[in-house]
């Protein structure tokens, strides 16, 4: 419904967006987060720059070592990891503040007939806009990197930034739901941090137990961000994250309807949970993915991928390796994660009777990797990408492609991060404090 103010018409939703933005600007928690982002990003960027420079030859490192360096892994993954820390420990306090049940504002605002979901969406939009402002800190790091003479590959930078935006969306949805469900912000903060710690526990159990836990851990925020930090965009991960964001915001919308009975709200929340779970399961079957890294770190060579796409028979791999065995980690990251992207008919089973595998070494079959392609079987113990491909080509009767693709030579940069400490540790906080003073005056 249009509203009159100074001769102009503005929908109620726009008024709400403007209100939420003003509340964000007035929020001390947001300014503290913004001020902290500089030093957080700075310490990661400066540390990464120093290591990168040393590996690139600064200070007499052996020539040629730096040639394999990728800025994505060497600089941007650690630099942007500061955003992950802020999203886990700072953003929840900003997000919780915006579902304000203490001041009485919510009691006034819910008396507008706007749908609760629209109300929560306005809050989420403003929070994500606030998060984008906070992400100016890594943007400063990118500008400094360019000034130092570094090479930046925009697709991988966009991917990593999108991953952190999605992660922030998850935090906002979770915090909004917690704030709507609880009466006091401190309870909401504890609930939000408990969920975050819970996902870490899932990751820990996955590392020890493997199996279903390992699959579940693949969709935790930590794992999701890690994939984006490697330049990989997976449809299932993105869709599941969006489903979780939608589910969290829907639960928040349900619980800000103060006039509806708690039992009905609980029932509706369970229904939203079930629908979200179904959507998540459906999304987990999505196989599309894109490797946005400049060095194709998530993909086999183009020749190998062409050869693998010609193999249509279902491939089963049975690896007798325990969850904590480093060879299993190698096999997964160097070969199988890449193989899943080109062979949709791949199924992988890990077999082990212990989690660390230390006492299984004497078992005759431990360490074996069995390949079954359309009924033809072979066994190998090699966990490298080359070994896996060799076994598959042998079973498929396909000739291994010859020659090399253009090899990524890396972008070494033997330059120290001069001036960065001053910018991130002094100028950034000072500018944020000055801006806070001016805006909140």
């Amino acid at each position: 419904m249009p509203r009159v103010r100074g001769g102009t018409f503005r929908p109620a939703f726009v008024w709400l967006l403007a209100k939420e933005w003003r509340e964000l600007m007035a929020s001390r928690a947001w300014w503290v987060m913004l001020a902290a982002m500089g030093p957080l990003v700075g310490v990661s960027f400066i540390s990464a720059m120093r290591t990168y420079a040393e590996v690139s030859g600064l200070g007499g490192t052996a020539a040629g070592v730096g040639e394999a360096l990728s800025p994505l892994v060497g600089i941007w993954a650690p630099t942007f990891s500061a955003c992950e820390i802020a999203a886990a420990f700072l953003l929840p306090f900003v997000a919780i503040r915006l579902v304000d049940r203490q001041s009485g504002a919510l009691k006034l605002e819910v008396q507008h007939r706007m749908s609760p979901l629209a109300r929560i969406t306005a809050k989420a939009i403003v929070l994500l806009a606030g998060w984008l402002v906070a992400m100016a800190a890594p943007l400063v790091a990118i500008l400094l990197w360019k000034l130092y003479g570094g090479v930046a590959y925009p697709p991988e930078l966009a991917t990593i930034a999108a991953g952190h935006l999605l992660n922030a969306g998850l935090t906002v949805a979770l915090a909004a739901a917690a704030a709507a469900l609880t009466d006091h912000p401190s309870t909401a903060a504890i609930a939000t941090l408990s969920v975050t710690v819970g996902t870490w526990i899932v990751n820990f159990i996955a590392a020890v137990q493997g199996g279903v836990w390992e699959r579940a851990a693949g969709y935790t925020p930590t794992a999701m961000v890690a994939e984006f930090q490697h330049g990989l965009v997976r449809a299932d991960v993105v869709l599941i994250a969006l489903a979780l964001v939608g589910g969290g915001l829907s639960v928040a919308a349900i619980w800000i309807r103060l006039g509806v009975r708690a039992s009905r709200r609980a029932f509706e929340s369970v229904a939203v949970g079930l629908v979200t779970a179904i959507v998540i399961v459906a999304c987990s079957f999505a196989r599309a993915s894109a490797d946005m890294s400049e060095n194709r770190m998530n993909s086999f060579s183009e020749r190998d991928e062409t050869a693998l796409r010609q193999i249509h028979a279902p491939l089963k791999i049975e690896a007798h390796l325990a969850a904590e065995d480093p060879r299993r980690v190698d096999l997964e990251h160097r070969a199988l994660s890449k193989l899943r992207r080109v062979m949709p008919n791949l199924s992988v089973d890990y077999v082990s009777s212990t989690s660390i595998g230390l006492f299984e070494q004497t078992s005759a079959h431990y360490g074996e990797i069995w390949y079954d392609l359309g009924g033809k079987r072979t066994m190998s113990r090699v966990t490298t990408a080359e070994g896996v491909l060799e076994a598959i080509y042998e079973l498929a009767g396909v000739r291994a492609p010859e020659g090399d693709d253009d090899v990524f030579r890396g972008h070494p940069l033997a330059v120290p991060p001069t001036g960065a400490p001053l910018i991130f540790y002094v100028s950034w906080p000072a500018l944020v404090l000055a801006a806070a003073f001016l805006v909140r005056r």
Partner: protein
């Protein structure tokens, strides 16, 4: 003519229980268009609970609300009733000027009425102050201003005189009466009986979560007399305080 026939808004059988405490126990009453209705009751009578249930910001266990012959759903209340709670400090970091503009813009109030409300409630000196920095009385006037700028035909105000001094109470009572005369229906929860007598046309007496009487002062005095001589108010000019004591 009965109260029910005259009612623009009719609450029937409002019941609300907090765990084992029954805050409202089958509360029924009517609100006539353009009147100032006072909800009178001691602390803990259930006044705030009743207002929150009426406004739809607290779920009812049982009861219905009708506007004329039509049942009012939770969604419908958003265009019919606006409730201003007591003791809140909404948007505390924002200036009052912005809060008034937001109220008009967000809820669809009349922008033309803004200056009049500011003048009536003497809000001009407070316009540039953040709401959180206002004193109790100043905040009460600010909240009344926000409430009066909303477009809803029924305005519920919890304790409109709480925090105001005698002069301000008289002035605000005049402002509220003026808005009622202009067509706005006001339902005010008041625990100071003298204040209620000054501003209200009719009263709903609430005690222990039950309606003990409803009507004008004269009607209530009659109800008190009907309950027997031992409960009747003393003879002479009707006094709400005595009527209240007689009926509760």
């Amino acid at each position: 003519m009965t109260t029910r026939e005259n009612s623009a808004l009719r609450a029937d059988g409002f019941t609300k229980t907090y765990r084992r405490v029954r805050a409202l126990d089958g509360v029924s009453f009517g609100v006539r268009p353009g009147e100032v209705l006072g909800l009178i009751g001691p602390n803990g009578a259930g006044k705030t609970t009743l207002f929150e249930c009426l406004a739809g910001v607290l779920p009812l266990d049982a009861g219905t609300l009708r506007h004329g012959d039509r049942l009012v759903s939770l969604t419908d209340r958003a265009s019919l009733i606006f409730y201003m709670p007591d003791g809140i400090a909404p948007w505390s970091a924002q200036r009052l000027r912005w809060a008034l503009d937001f109220t008009i813009g967000f809820f669809g109030g009349e922008a033309e009425g803004r200056d009049a409300v500011v003048r009536e409630l003497d809000l001009a000196p407070l316009l540039d102050a953040p709401i959180g920095t206002l004193s109790k009385g100043q905040r009460k006037r600010a909240l009344l201003g926000i409430g009066l700028l909303t477009p809803h035909p029924f305005l519920l105000v919890d304790e409109p005189f709480d925090g105001l001094d005698l002069r301000q109470t008289r002035e605000v009572a005049g402002v509220l009466r003026a808005h009622a005369s202009a067509g706005r229906t006001l339902f005010l929860s008041i625990h100071q009986i003298a204040d209620a007598e000054r501003v209200c046309d009719r009263f709903v007496l609430l005690s222990g979560g039950r309606v003990r009487g409803e009507g004008t002062l004269q009607e209530l005095k009659g109800q008190a007399s009907d309950r027997g001589p031992e409960r009747a108010a003393p003879p002479g000019p009707a006094n709400l305080e005595e009527v209240f004591l007689a009926l509760t």
